[in-house]
């Protein structure tokens, strides 16, 4: 059931892993493809590509409405894997995106994108259990 709430997409891209990695991790390149359709632009792409670094993207449509995802890079293995948290500016929900890159024949790359719906809420669940235990203990000593 956990899998049913995550999204997995696989694509074979016509470039070696180094180029695909660069397309995700350089500001000039991500601005060229990170908008979904004609008439949309990416006016802001701030990528601090290192583990613990943050990113912020702003996608703007023809009417000037903006969509802005941001997050933290959790793991970076050059030309192989990028894991980052994902939060829309208008939502409290924090999710996670994993990009895996693999060689596919000559000069091609198989990209797998996994977007997990609720890693953060699981952590919160564990935290809340921890707190409940602590508070139960606290009530016995006060």
């Amino acid at each position: 059931m956990a899998k049913a709430n995550s999204l997995v997409l696989t694509r074979v891209l016509p470039a070696p892993r180094e180029k695909v990695f660069a397309a995700w991790t350089t500001e000039a390149m991500i601005k060229q493809w990170f908008c979904p359709s004609e008439g949309m632009t990416v006016p802001v792409a701030e990528l601090d590509v290192r583990e613990g670094g943050t990113y912020r993207l702003v996608v703007e449509d023809a009417e000037g409405k903006t969509y802005s995802p941001s997050g933290i890079y959790e793991k970076i293995v050059p030309n192989e894997q990028i894991i980052f948290s994902w939060k829309w500016a208008d939502s409290e929900l924090i999710t996670r995106v994993t990009i895996d890159l693999r060689d596919h024949g000559d000069d091609e790359t198989e990209l797998t994108l996994t977007h997990d719906g609720f890693p953060e809420t699981e952590i919160r669940d564990r935290h809340s259990q921890g707190w409940e235990g602590c508070l139960a203990k606290l009530t016995t000593v006060v």
Binding site: M1, L9, R11, P14, W33, P36, S91, L93, G117
Partner: protein, 110 residues
Amino acid sequence: MQQISSNLDQVFFALSDGTRRAILSRLTEGSTTIGELAQPFEMSSPAISKHMKILEKAGLIERRISGRQHHCTLATGALKTAEEWINFHRKFWESRLVALEDLLANQQSP
């Protein structure tokens, strides 16, 4: 996006627990009482009741009280919200990956 995200935290929080997912699976077979729902789980009734409250708050179940019996029914609206959220992202990423593919293809053959 804003409308979709409003209730999502609670829905995904509710779905992040194995016991609660099992309760929902059981309810897909039809509505039942809390007593019957609790049977397969080795849990006290306050513990089950806590799970039910979280599911209820997320809008995943509905509770109807008749006499001393609490009847539970699966409410599909909230699950649909979660599904819409996933579909939104599926379309979002699919369109971007097409754009990425185009960009890389154009670079290969200048």
